[in-house]
Symmetry: C2
């Protein structure tokens, strides 16, 4: 069995009891989350979110610079009015530098990735501050709404705010 | 109460009973999901994924072109070996054109977004095919692994493959 075939079998079981309920496209809580793709984080239970509540944007590191297109769509077309940016402890993004992954891509795929910023970071709290600043510097997202930054502790399941 | 304050209160309750367990950073199923940020989709139960199982990348539409950095990191540094690209019915991305959101951003934020591609689409199945092709055209992701595309039906909870 491949992982995707396992996923399809699980989806069959899920769909057997699924009902959509009353879910408009506009997130009920008018909230957008920006978080990391990390496998150890399941935003719904960790943040108390139910289907229909919030947009959840995820990428390697939870980097805002790559989430601006989605944030603009979330705000302009689907009415969200708060943003939570969530990075996390033990993040893979703190374990490499651009040159490391560029070297691996050259070695394994013969790919030239020297022009690509992979957005790793060294200091976790600073990465949240940098992303709050990246948000503030963007002209395409709302500056008149609450935008807050957090670290999620994989060890404890707890969020702590970064100011 | 703001939505973020509600989220923090829910996280307190979550953390009270949380234990991390045995979760290395490498996804257990060696699987990466690319899906939409849509509030109505909760990938974990819908796909049978548990914490630690898979990387989950999400953006407006589940567009691959914006997920390539994350996919390269997922594969090169964290050892994933399968990719599932999942778009969905009733997607907000099928309800606007670039000119619509550019006009709104001009009107509400006085922002010039004429240089930004917001990646909307008209045909859902074709958007999945386009993203499978975007994957195949990228030199920085592995071409020797299973990469499959799906539509998730918000109405039924069911995945169907797009070839």
């Amino acid at each position: 069995m491949s992982a995707i075939n396992d996923m399809l079998a699980a989806n069959e079981r899920f769909a057997a009891t699924y009902t959509m309920g009353d879910m408009p496209p506009q997130p009920r809580r008018k909230l957008t989350i920006v978080a990391c793709m990390d496998a150890r984080i399941d935003p719904a239970p960790a943040l108390g979110l139910h289907p229909g509540d919030a947009h959840i944007i995820r990428n390697a590191g939870g980097r805002v610079v790559e989430a601006l297109r989605s944030l603009a769509i979330s705000q302009q077309l689907l009415g969200t009015e708060e943003v939570a940016i969530i990075h996390h402890t033990r993040c893979g993004m703190a374990t490499f530098a651009d040159d490391d992954i560029r070297g691996r891509l050259r070695d394994t795929l013969n790919a030239d990735a020297d022009h690509i910023a992979f957005l790793p970071f060294r200091d976790l709290e600073q990465s949240v501050r940098d992303d709050l600043e990246a948000y503030r510097q963007s002209p395409i997202v709302r500056q008149d709404i609450p935008v807050r930054g957090f670290v999620y502790e994989v060890e404890t399941g707890r969020l702590r705010e970064v100011n």
